[in-house]
């Protein structure tokens, strides 16, 4: 069953110099128990999409979508209060800066305990305090925090960034959500904690059948265990499909550049060998090119690219490009 089904999600920012379209007609669908990765450079609108799904974007952003279905219910048509309830029950989000996402004046225990839903308590009013303690302890243990006594009685500013991230994850999984949106959960962490966090998310997916929408820069890590990948460039979805397919033969020049930019240590790098990268830089949001936004940087670009390419879908692998790569039919007997 489709868990999340988004069609033509557009996020715009009205400014004095006209409307900036930060996310342009993005489609996304996610099945139960799948791990999807949202990949792109910073500023490509990944976090905006995540926040739009959860509904925590500022009021100055204008969000439109043909549909944003969550298990058959259109989130866009719900009242804010109802939507908050649905989102709070079924989804959870991990933010980029864990320490700033925790209330500086509340102890960790209170913050974790607060995210436990009321339904999960079996005891009556009097046993609840004890039960809450047990549950918080279990949650902290689950995310790999050993000295729960000390952590739960500290304030966020007394803890390291990694521990804060784990606390965030503990809060996120407290309600047993069906979808976990992880917005660059590992950018602020050092590599050992990073590996721990990835392992934790992976086990959550495998053991609890939790779907995960992963926003990350860690391409190599992501390719290992995500089922599908969505590549964004400047707010446009350039390619989406099963991870393996996208990475082995990408159709879109940007995806190809992304794959090529991963240094291949297995075959050794030459002394001072240049890394592969597209020429130019990402345009700022005020100066987005018309048509295909990759146009000015694309090695394949031709005159047709001034028109926005339509998303073409074949075998669950969709791409938006006028001149896709790797599309000529493979011959049966190459000779």
């Amino acid at each position: 069953m489709q868990l999340l089904d988004i069609k033509n999600l557009t996020i715009e920012l009205p400014t004095e110099d006209g409307v900036i379209r930060a996310v342009d007609k993005v489609n996304l669908s996610l099945k139960e128990g799948e791990v999807h990765a949202l990949v792109g450079e910073s500023g490509s609108g990944k976090s905006l999409i995540a926040k739009a799904i959860v509904g925590v974007l500022n009021e100055r952003w204008r969000i439109t979508a043909d549909r944003m279905h969550w298990r058959g219910v259109d989130l866009m048509r719900l009242s804010p209060e109802k939507r908050r309830k649905v989102v709070g029950r079924d989804m959870a989000m991990i933010y980029q800066e864990p320490r700033r996402s925790l209330d500086p004046t509340a102890k960790i225990f209170e913050q974790v305990a607060e995210s436990l839903p009321d339904e999960c308590f079996k005891a009556g009013f009097f046993g609840r305090k004890k039960e809450r303690k047990v549950k918080v302890k279990a949650l902290l243990h689950k995310v790999g925090i050993r000295d729960d006594e000390r952590i739960s009685s500290s304030y966020p500013h007394e803890l390291s960034e990694g521990v804060c991230q784990k606390v965030m994850i503990a809060m996120a999984i407290a309600r047993n959500p069906q979808l976990l949106i992880a917005d660059e959960p590992t950018t602020a962490l050092e590599s050992t904690t990073r590996a721990q966090v990835f392992r934790l998310l992976k086990s959550l997916n495998q053991l609890k059948n939790m779907s995960i929408l992963m926003i990350s820069h860690e391409l190599e890590e992501i390719t290992q265990w995500s089922h599908a990948i969505h590549v964004l460039y400047c707010g446009q979805m350039v390619e989406a499909g099963p991870t393996k397919k996208v990475f082995t033969d990408p159709y879109h020049p940007y995806t190809q550049a992304l794959v090529k930019s991963l240094p291949d240590y297995a075959h050794g790098l030459g002394h001072k060998a240049p890394f592969y990268a597209l020429k130019g830089t990402i345009p700022p949001l005020q100066h987005l090119p018309i048509g295909c936004r990759l146009g000015p940087r694309c090695p394949q670009a031709q005159r047709e690219c001034v028109a926005t390419p339509v998303l073409v879908k074949s075998h669950g692998h969709s791409y938006a490009c006028h001149f896709p790569l790797n599309r000529e039919k493979k011959k049966c007997n190459p000779c």
Binding site: G88, M93, D103, E114, M168
Partner: protein
Amino acid sequence: MLDYLFRRLSLLLFMLFALTAFTFSLNYLFPGDLLTNFSGQVNTSFSQSQMLEEKYHIDDNVLVQYGAFVSRLFQGDWGVSLSSGQTVASHVALLLPATLELCFYALVVAILLGIPAGIITSAYHKKWPDKVISTLTLLGFSIPVFWLALLLIMVFCLGFGWFPMSGRIGLLYEIPAVTNFILLDIWLLGFPYGGQAFLDALHHLALPTVVLAMYPTTVLTRFTRDSMLNVLEQNYIKTARAKGLNRRQIILDHALRNALLPVIKQIGLQFSTLITLAMVTEVIFSWPGVGRWLIDSIYQRDYPAIQGGLLAVSMFVIFANMLADLTHSLLDPVSRNQSHGKV
């Protein structure tokens, strides 16, 4: 925390030193005879002058004089007022409580009205409650306090005759001064008509309190609103919202606690403005407080009284500031563990 307290108090010592040094230097800076400025006694005979010179160490160097000045301050010997002939310390002890009483009630009104108003405006940001309250606060913020006082007197005293125009209590009641806080004194006295006296005192308090509370109320409203709006933008509020908490929980459990911390500091900073405004209010309502007395002393060139009043008022402001600062550090977990105090 004890460490912090100790450091904070040592900073206070420096501030008090600066304050007393300034007050001491006023003796030299004021026109007139040095001995008169120190003692407040005019037209002294030769033998009296001899005695005073010895007491005030006029012949010794300035440091010794300052030392003697500070020790006299601690002994409660603040000199004698030129105009009344009574000791300055007795004046201050009698008048400062009246001012404190007025300021205290004004501040209580400001906190009780201003902070909820600020919360309401931020909760209904850009909707009609926000617009109405913001406009009103701007109005209250910009009205000169003396004009507001005159206006209220014209309407409520002369027009409707609901409130008395001046003084602390009607002439019918004779309240002996114990603490000099009038409501407290009436309660302590416990005489048969205490209830009526209490009501009368409240009647007298009403207009000055309203006038004095206007400025801090509007400032607190605006400050609370800005602080709340700032906090509501923070990431942890988004996290709380994504957790599925409702609006009430978010505001009461997370936003308010964080937003009120800077407001506590602001309350401390409001004290100096409050005292200044209290002086104007006291003059208009003939409130027997230290502000009116100070202004009268300035008119009468009563130098010892000016010194004493200045010292008392400044000391009070410094202590109030420090108290607010300590409360802030006590409540804020982030600054609680800082070991260095700040002025």
